[in-house]
Symmetry: C2
DNA sequence: GTCTATATCAAGATAGAC
DNA sequence: GTCTATCTTGATATAGAC
């Protein structure tokens, strides 16, 4: 017999915000129910009156992340600089400024039934709609951007690699392609 | 007072091979010292006579993975088809055929002091030397390939996405660029 | 909505005997 | 080289009182 827990309450939002602080500051291994409770000044079991389980907590974080990435994309679209460059910069900046959050939202399969419908779609739509390329090209471009961000986060490029230049080369490649695309 | 354990013994290789089976079959959460020992018919503590700790075991797996990826690149270079396409196919195939191994070797920072010097370099050298592009372009291309593989493994593309086409678009983009490169 | 107490589980690793 | 026994740690989650 499982209790029904409302999806959105102030306390729940507070728990997710606290979880986010811990994740961003100390990484995923520090994100435990106990750590969240400690920071809120309560005991871990009390959390379960507000949120069903840890998985729900993580999906709450993913939801927030998609919302903020969407916000970043909207701001980039409004900027006056080259659109492709502006969107790429927004994406890269988000990843570098929120590495643990970025990993959380990209490193695993996503159970879309556990996040608010539309959260992911909005970010995807904003990123794709800006370009003239085909869907296939948009997917390839996303793969490039994700690869650049995650390999940088994982420190896989040589320490002296000029990643700004690698971004430029990649974007130049796709720009050429999209001008030829539908 | 720590015991010195030889880096390469038959038993050690056997342990790593067993660990690989478990990782590939059942994923990282199944890869425990106990599971490895069970499959070998011994007790977990006995493993520590042959390998220092679990981290060493994982780095042994990463080493094997780089060696095999290097082999795949060599085979691709010898093929008669378009080089860029052949290398990309080899990379993608490796990732899809060994998803857990691929994740293990790419998802984290790499402590290069714990793998055999040259293992990573060989794979990198084989992949880069084939192209005429700049280093920056090579890095962008790697990011594209990694992004395509890991997003496919994480099922992030729509189920009906035609990933062959996305690969084609991305490779076409980089090909155009490299023809203009140094 | 919070608490205490507890169930449950599982991991990596060491000591010391044989 | 393998064993048994054990240490140490830490996690998610539930029951039931207040």
């Amino acid at each position: 017999m499982s209790e029904t827990i409302p999806v959105s309450t102030p306390r729940r939002q507070q728990i997710i915000a606290t979880a986010r602080e811990i994740l961003e500051e100390d990484g995923p291994s520090a994100l435990t129910m106990r750590a969240v409770a400690d920071r809120l000044g309560i005991r871990a079991p009390s959390l379960y009156k507000h949120i069903p389980d840890k998985d729900a907590l993580e999906h709450g974080l993913i939801e927030v992340a998609f919302d903020e990435l969407g916000d970043a994309f909207e701001a980039a679209r409004a900027s006056q600089t080259d659109l492709l460059v502006a969107m790429a910069q927004a994406y890269r900046r988000f990843g570098l400024e929120h590495p643990h959050l970025y990993r959380l939202m990209t490193e695993h399969k996503l159970d879309r039934s556990r996040i608010r419908p539309g959260a992911e779609e909005r970010a995807a739509r904003l990123s794709i709609a800006s370009f003239g390329g085909s869907q296939d090209t948009a997917r390839a471009l996303w793969a490039f951007a994700h690869g650049m961000v995650i390999l940088e986060l994982n420190e896989r490029f040589p320490a002296d690699a000029e990643l700004d230049l690698a971004w430029q080369r990649g974007l130049a490649a796709f720009r050429t392609l999209m001008e030829k695309d539908t």
